[in-house]
């Protein structure tokens, strides 16, 4: 129908106009670089963490892990179909349970487990479904104040959502491949993403744009996971090259590496007390470092 085509064309034109408007608005506030601003900040030096424990028990690839709020217990999910709950102080397994969830990411919080919709764990019903991504949603993180969450997807975009309204508030582009990992900066004002394009990026939510890119020409492996130290200064990023590389979040420099896994690092997590970092791998082991 000609009328419909005319309407579609008009709408497409409006979209293009709005996208250009957004880019212009972002440029208008882009008055300085993070790395330049951090030139006066003291370097963290070489960050050398030691392997303290290796947790053995899963029979297949580990896909996800999450720390409990007590910074002592931790849950891990594996392709072997099990969820294991660990006491990380002793290294003992507390609970073993079959997992009914086919999720590549799990998030434990006072709200129900977030998959790509909000589930009510008691009723087993979906409360809110967030639809906006074109590609599969690969990663999720809840904001420190729990009012928003961020998602990263195979469409290479990161999106900020309002939990209660179920609406998308902001969209961040820049990556050129799937975003596999996403995390909030502790202040709640920035997010960090890790992608198959081998880069990590920090986006500031208030400036509505990318402020720093963590990349190294010697790193040719995709980023699978990431976690941030409690001050926000260190980013622990798990890669397909079997390592977890450590980045200085302010200066954008690589400052260390956690080596020891025999297969790709699939998940990384820092507990709330910041006392260490846990890496999980396709080699079926979890390792604790500090």
């Amino acid at each position: 129908m000609a009328a419909e085509k005319a309407e579609m064309d008009a709408l497409k034109k409006e979209c293009d106009g709005l996208r250009a408007q957004i880019e212009a608005a972002r440029k208008a506030v882009n008055d300085g670089s993070m790395t330049a601003a951090a030139s006066g900040v003291a370097s963290v030096g070489r960050v050398q963490l030691k392997l303290r424990k290796t947790l053995k028990g899963h029979l297949a690839k580990i896909y996800a892990m999450h720390w409990s709020a007590d910074s002592r217990q931790m849950v891990s999910a594996s392709q072997d179909g099990k969820l294991l709950i660990w006491d990380c102080f002793t290294g003992n397994k507390l609970i073993r349970t079959p997992s009914g969830l086919k999720t590549p990411d799990l998030c434990l919080c006072p709200l129900p487990v977030i998959v790509s919709c909000l589930w009510d764990l008691e009723t087993g019903k979906q409360k809110v479904i967030f639809t906006n991504h074109i590609g599969d949603c690969m990663s999720l993180a809840l904001s420190p104040d729990m009012s928003t969450f961020i998602s990263g997807a195979c469409d290479s975009l990161a999106k900020l959502w309002d939990v209660r309204e179920g609406s998308c508030k902001q969209t961040f582009s820049g990556h050129t491949s799937d975003i596999n990992a996403i995390s909030f900066f502790q202040s709640g004002n920035a997010i960090i993403t890790g992608s198959d394009d081998c880069q990590c990026k920090m986006y500031d939510l208030r400036a509505d744009q990318e402020v720093i890119c963590y990349q190294d020409s010697s790193l040719n492996a995709g980023v699978t996971s990431l976690a941030v130290s409690s001050s926000g200064r260190l980013i622990f990023a798990g890669y397909d090259d079997f390592n977890c590389h450590i980045w200085d979040s302010l200066k954008g420099e690589k400052v260390g590496v956690l080596s020891g896994h025999d297969n790709r690092v699939s998940c990384t997590g820092v507990p709330d007390d910041g006392m260490g970092v846990c890496t999980g791998s396709w080699d079926s082991f979890l390792k604790l470092w500090n």
């Binding site: 408007q21 882009n30 963290v44 960050v47 303290r52 906006n132 920035a190 500031d204 208030r206 200064r233």
Partner: protein
């Protein structure tokens, strides 16, 4: 009709873009300064930056003491 469904979908995209275009943005220099300040303020309380003694380390196996 798939045609009008496309129009409906497109209108949603426009609506979403209008929403995202309308937000207030803070200058990157201000945002960077705030992020820096947060890191530096919390640096002393970040055990992975400051390090810890083995007696404080929750993941290190405790050495067993014995009376001689």
């Amino acid at each position: 009709m798939s045609g009008s469904a496309n129009v409906v979908a497109m209108k949603k995209v426009v609506q979403q873009l209008r929403l995202e275009a309308g937000i207030n943005r803070v200058k990157v220099s201000q945002a960077a300064a705030d992020l820096q300040q947060f890191c530096l303020q919390n640096a002393q309380q970040d055990p992975l930056l400051t390090g810890m003694s083995s007696s404080n380390n929750p993941f290190r196996p405790q050495k067993v003491c014995s009376f001689l």
